[in-house]
Symmetry: C2
Subunit: 273 residues, 2 copies
Amino acid sequence: ANFTIMVLGESGLGKTTYVNTLFTTLLRDYKRPEHRFQKQLERTVQIDVVRAEIEEKGFNVRLTVIDTPGFGDYVNNQDCWVPVVEFLDEQHQNYMSHEQRAQRDEKDDLRVHVCLYFIQPTGHTLKPLDIEVMKQLGSRVNLIPIIAKADTLTPGDLAVFKDRIRDCISTHNIAVYSPPVQSDDEENTRRNQSIFSAMPFSVISSESDVTSPTTGEKVRGRQYLWGVAEVENEAHCDFKKLRNLLIRTHMHDLIASTEEHHYENFRMDKLGA
Amino acid sequence: ANFTIMVLGESGLGKTTYVNTLFTTLLRDYKRPEHRFQKQLERTVQIDVVRAEIEEKGFNVRLTVIDTPGFGDYVNNQDCWVPVVEFLDEQHQNYMSHEQRAQRDEKDDLRVHVCLYFIQPTGHTLKPLDIEVMKQLGSRVNLIPIIAKADTLTPGDLAVFKDRIRDCISTHNIAVYSPPVQSDDEENTRRNQSIFSAMPFSVISSESDVTSPTTGEKVRGRQYLWGVAEVENEAHCDFKKLRNLLIRTHMHDLIASTEEHHYENFRMDKLGA
Ligand SMILES: Nc1nc2c(ncn2[C@@H]2O[C@H](COP(=O)(O)OP(=O)(O)O)[C@@H](O)[C@H]2O)c(=O)[nH]1
Ligand SMILES: Nc1nc2c(ncn2[C@@H]2O[C@H](COP(=O)(O)OP(=O)(O)O)[C@@H](O)[C@H]2O)c(=O)[nH]1
């Protein structure tokens, strides 16, 4: 399967570290996955495409991650989401023009199956830019909000912040990803509720393994003078929960909903226009 | 003495918490200092004036802190520093117009003796907005750059970040505050070097006292699941170093240089214009 994730958010929120951490924890004897290419979308946003083959439960997944350096980094960020939306549409467009032709190189299909939007851990609420971008993207791509650098927030701060973000999302009618409800499968519904009740997902990422002061084992984490914030400790952050959602439990639905629902919306817009 | 500090930086960098922490650690049996007033500078920036009497080494200081909510919080932050610069000039102007008259109410003199500029702990370098604002302010007020929420940075990250910020400051010729050199006082020169070599000062702030897992004592700090980041632990951040600079060793020079050097520059501009 081909699975494409986009990470989006302003500079310095740990997006690149997150991408590396995701790949490293998936490919335990990781060497840096290949950078397929970089492309300047406009003078303001660049896309970096990183790709690796991973094996999940015995089948192969070509995981592609698209990083977006430059987004939201200016004094004036008016319309900074436009190049991103154009990029997303362009992938649907490319697929549509190739669909007619029988032969199509799968490698070139960069339709984004999920967009992880990184939120600065201010402790207050969403910033005006976050709201605007999430509204624009939510209707076009499966959007999952992420609390970046969650080790900045104490447990109390984090709970309050999550609540405020959720209120903000509902007030502004931001369409975040939610899985389909299978009314005849109660266990599945409960499990989904338990996963998605954690959204926005708090994430801690790290390039290094350090010794846990509590267990003495090597863990992926951030070593402070006062302790180690652990990436894969579910009490510390939702990294593992999110990774399971993306790679194990919901990959199939993220792909299907993009290639059916979002692609159909795009085709309808195009045909209508 | 009257001493006025301005805190400046985008929302969510812990400025308000810093102000509270500064007052609390100065006034140990602190009750909230009085909020003198709030004022809307323009639709974009507000100023909150907080004032308390503190006693330092037996003499009284009326400490005023000006917080600046709304600064840098928009999608488009073009010229967001203009209301701040106008506010600073206005204080010099008010002083100038009153100077002629013999009577002058000291309480109304809000000339800012030092501006603490809060930098987001991205780990990369200064943002375009930071550079622009610091250039504009550095020539008009004693400017001290602060690394906000420094508990976001591991010791390695912090050292690299400080270096990059310092490079950026010198590349862009940003005028940050530096104390006068007294060439005949070697010890003073050495002490200043040791204090100012830490700039930009890393700050951790907190509204609460928590139990230190290492000493069992109550400390002002942020309690994470993996440990306590301590405000007044000099290995954890420069909060104490900065407080000593502001309230003990350099208050006099910060006041003198504002009321002489910066005020004179303002008068020259006005007379020349
Ligand atoms: N506190 C904290 N810092 C992080 C985390 N992830 C990355 N960083 C640091 O943040 C800085 C910027 O990270 P980077 O991945 O380059 O951010 P990007 O600009 O969003 O791609 C680096 O110094 C990282 O070490 C995290 O989860 N928590
Ligand atoms: N990690 C961290 N969080 C902090 C620090 N200081 C304040 N905060 C938290 O950051 C959030 C915003 O703080 P606030 O003082 O309101 O920021 P302001 O908008 O700049 O005035 C609150 O949840 C604070 O508890 C700090 O030093 N480190």
